[in-house]
């Protein structure tokens, strides 16, 4: 997933914390090995290499992940698409066979990229593991763009998480109060690259805004922030209308340190 995970677990005995974090590390590493398309040994790299010519049978977890991706693709008007490419296709890019747990790619130029999904998927699992280990309070930060909070801050009723205004050092674009909830932020990459594609046009989305989504599930928040950023402004409310309990905000950061915040209406 090409980033780092940081976990803050206050008021937890150190041996217990170390044990929990070791388990988390193992779990996330396993997902990394499963979903990293840049790792030639990963099942996903195998799919990208050969599934255009033959059906590839998948590990149960990877298949389930791809099924979820397909559900989200349909649930976001196609704006969340793990097969998005600069040459858009008219038909389906891949076909999942639920009976045999196999995948077929429509053509050799289709590549599955779980980059916009894996962090949310892993974060969801990490939170569950922490809860099952008895952790009542903590924050998990996955590469700054996906953050999940368990319970509340030791000195407050929520975890105050600020989104940085990258156009003005030290300025805050928005503060979010997380409590048993998650936050995901999408937009232009830190490097200045517009890396998110509009799956329908194949064009890189060059929006200046950040899209921040908060809600119960780290996975849904991650998927939604990517899809909303990729979608034209006039379609964002419609996408949000399909998700109850999520709140999306567009953050227009300015060089003078101020930020215009626009809530994306939910057309439910």
């Amino acid at each position: 997933m090409h980033t780092r995970m940081e976990i803050v677990l206050p008021r937890l005995e150190e041996p217990m914390a170390q044990s929990v974090v070791r388990d988390v590390e193992q779990r996330v590493s396993k997902l990394e090995r499963l979903m990293n398309r840049f790792d030639n040994a990963s099942p996903l790299a195998m799919v990208n290499a050969v599934a255009a010519t033959q059906a590839v049978e998948l590990d149960g977890e990877l298949f389930m992940a791809l099924e979820l991706c397909e559900v989200f693709r349909r649930g976001t008007g196609g704006y969340f698409d793990v097969a998005a490419a600069e040459q858009p296709r008219s038909g389906a890019a891949y076909l999942l066979d639920g009976k045999d747990h196999t995948i077929r790619l429509a053509s050799a130029d289709v590549k599955i990229d779980l980059g916009g999904f894996a962090k949310g998927f892993a974060l969801e699992q990490v939170c569950r593991m922490l809860r099952e280990s008895g952790v009542e309070s903590g924050v998990v930060n996955f590469g700054n763009s996906s953050i999940a909070a368990l319970g509340h801050h030791p000195y407050g009723e929520w975890w105050p998480i600020g989104v940085a205004n990258r156009k003005c050092a030290g300025a805050v674009a928005g503060e979010f109060r997380l409590c048993d909830s998650a936050l995901s932020v999408s937009g232009m990459a830190e490097s200045g690259e517009y890396h998110i594609l509009n799956p329908h046009t194949g064009l890189r989305v060059a929006g200046e805004e950040l899209v921040a989504v908060e809600g119960r599930s780290a996975l849904v928040a991650e998927v939604l922030s990517t899809a909303l950023y990729a979608a034209p402004h006039n379609q964002r409310a419609e996408i949000m209308g399909q998700y109850e309990g999520y709140r999306a905000t567009e953050l227009y950061c300015r060089k003078d340190g101020t930020t215009e915040r626009r809530l994306i209406e939910n057309n439910r």
């Binding site: 590469g143 940085a164 830190e190």
Partner: protein, 433 residues
């Protein structure tokens, strides 16, 4: 900030519990010490009611435990300015008369440097409890004379080294002594301004009285007026005193008005373990302002901005450290780290972390004083000592050496020599750590 908030500001509960063993001179800030003087009054006389004296007066007005009963200045306009604030105070133009006033229990001396030593000794010998502005004295010998006088007559003597009472310095030094920046490997101090350092003179014959800072007959210039504050940081952080001093000073820009003190100075103080502390001051360029930085083998603490920088942030660029540090300090505030994906090849420069909340950063531009720089707390500690007669622990020795090394550096500049402090000037010294 009021007295009750002082220890809380030093880092909430965590520091309040340990501060008194590490910082015993702060004892007067505790609720217990406050209770001790409840209902009592510190009856104070002020000698020197110019700009710095007025600065103290404005703080004194906020202290219910203080009653200013006498004022003294031989420059009438300054005396009248001060008298407006205390209509009942007796007015003197000769400080000897003020010292004879039995109602005065404590005196605040805010006069030109060359008068500090004589006035302090006279006040101590008159049985007064004394606060004197820094630097402690005009010469190395005179500073020793003042120290020995205090030893001989007992009583209270505090010098205006207010950083010792500034919560952000107290917190920073605690972190340094706990090893948060590793081994101290350097101390950098600088103080830049861009002004002529002059006060308006209503009549030419008053030039040297009003602009005494500019003449070596009355002043040691930048070393005693500015460096003295910052040099004390080194000893506080290092837990030892410098071994040798070298430096250079010149008059390079404001050299057409008759002054004879340097307007640019640079000094190096070397400690017994080889670590250097530098002090540089230029008053014809202010771009970098005031800076006081303790450099450690694992990080840096900027005392002026109360920021902590680690040399090897792991992982780089993470605001999560801020969150952890806040929790450790019992704080909750916005942790700003969220944004679009961080990737290993795009790590940003590591941001510094504030060491405490609500830090008031002082620019160092004012030559009178600044809000929230520890001055008020220091005067409150003095008022407490006027009532109780108890000398706060350790601070006099710290102030003594700050003065001695400022004076020694000035001497090194004038002689173009590397100097060590003569044995005869050494007094018992217990490091602040």
């Amino acid at each position: 900030m009021n007295r009750k908030e002082f220890l809380a500001d030093c880092g909430a509960k965590g520091l309040a519990g340990v501060a008194l063993s590490l910082f015993p001179w702060l004892e007067s800030c505790t609720p217990k010490a406050q209770q001790e003087i409840k209902g009592e009054k510190a009856r104070i006389g002020i000698i020197g009611t110019g700009s710095r004296g007025l600065f103290h007066i404005k703080n004194l007005l906020q202290m219910p435990e203080v009653e200013v009963v006498a004022l003294c200045d031989d420059y009438r306009p300054h005396l009248e300015d001060a008298a407006q604030y205390f209509p009942k105070a007796k007015l003197y133009d000769d400080y000897h008369r003020l010292l004879e006033d039995s109602e005065v229990k404590g005196v605040i001396i805010a006069t030109p440097l060359y008068l500090h030593g004589r006035m302090t000794i006279d006040a101590l010998e008159a049985g007064k409890r004394v606060f004197c502005e820094k630097s402690m004295a005009f010469t190395l010998d005179e500073a020793l004379e003042v120290y020995k006088c205090r030893e001989r007559v007992g009583g209270v003597l505090l010098i205006g080294q207010q950083r010792l009472f500034d919560p952000k310095y107290v917190k920073a030094m605690q972190m340094i002594h706990e090893g948060k920046i590793g081994k101290v490997v350097g101390v950098r101090n600088y103080w830049y301004r861009n002004n002529d350092w002059r006060r308006e003179v209503p009549s030419p014959e008053l030039e040297r009285r009003i602009n005494w800072r500019l003449y070596s007959e009355y002043s040691r210039g930048l070393m005693t007026e500015l460096a003295c504050h910052q040099l004390q940081n080194g000893s506080w952080a290092m837990g030892m005193l410098p071994e040798k001093v070298m430096g250079s000073g010149s008059l390079i820009h404001w050299n057409k008005d008759g002054r004879d003190v340097y307007d640019t100075v640079c000094a190096i103080f070397t400690y017994p373990n080889g670590v250097n502390m530098t002090f540089e001051s230029i008053i014809s360029n202010k771009h970098f302002g005031m800076g006081e930085q303790i450099l450690g083998s694992e990080g840096t603490i900027d005392l002026v901005t109360a920021m902590h920088y680690t040399d090897e942030p792991a992982p780089k660029g993470s605001g999560m450290h801020q969150l952890v540090e806040q929790i450790e300090n019992g704080l909750m505030s916005n942790s700003v780290f969220a944004g679009t994906s961080w990737a290993t090849e795009t790590s940003a420069l590591a941001p510094g972390l504030p060491i405490m909340q609500n830090v008031k950063v002082v620019s160092g531009e004012s030559s009178v004083g600044a809000e929230a720089d520890g001055s008020k707390e220091l005067i409150e500690a003095f008022a407490h000592a006027v009532i109780t007669g108890k000398q706060p622990d350790k601070v006099l020795e710290e102030s003594y050496y700050a003065t001695q090394f400022a004076l020694l550096a000035d001497k090194a500049m004038k002689e173009g020599a590397i100097l060590t402090l003569d044995e005869k000037y050494k007094i018992p010294y217990e490091p602040l750590k």
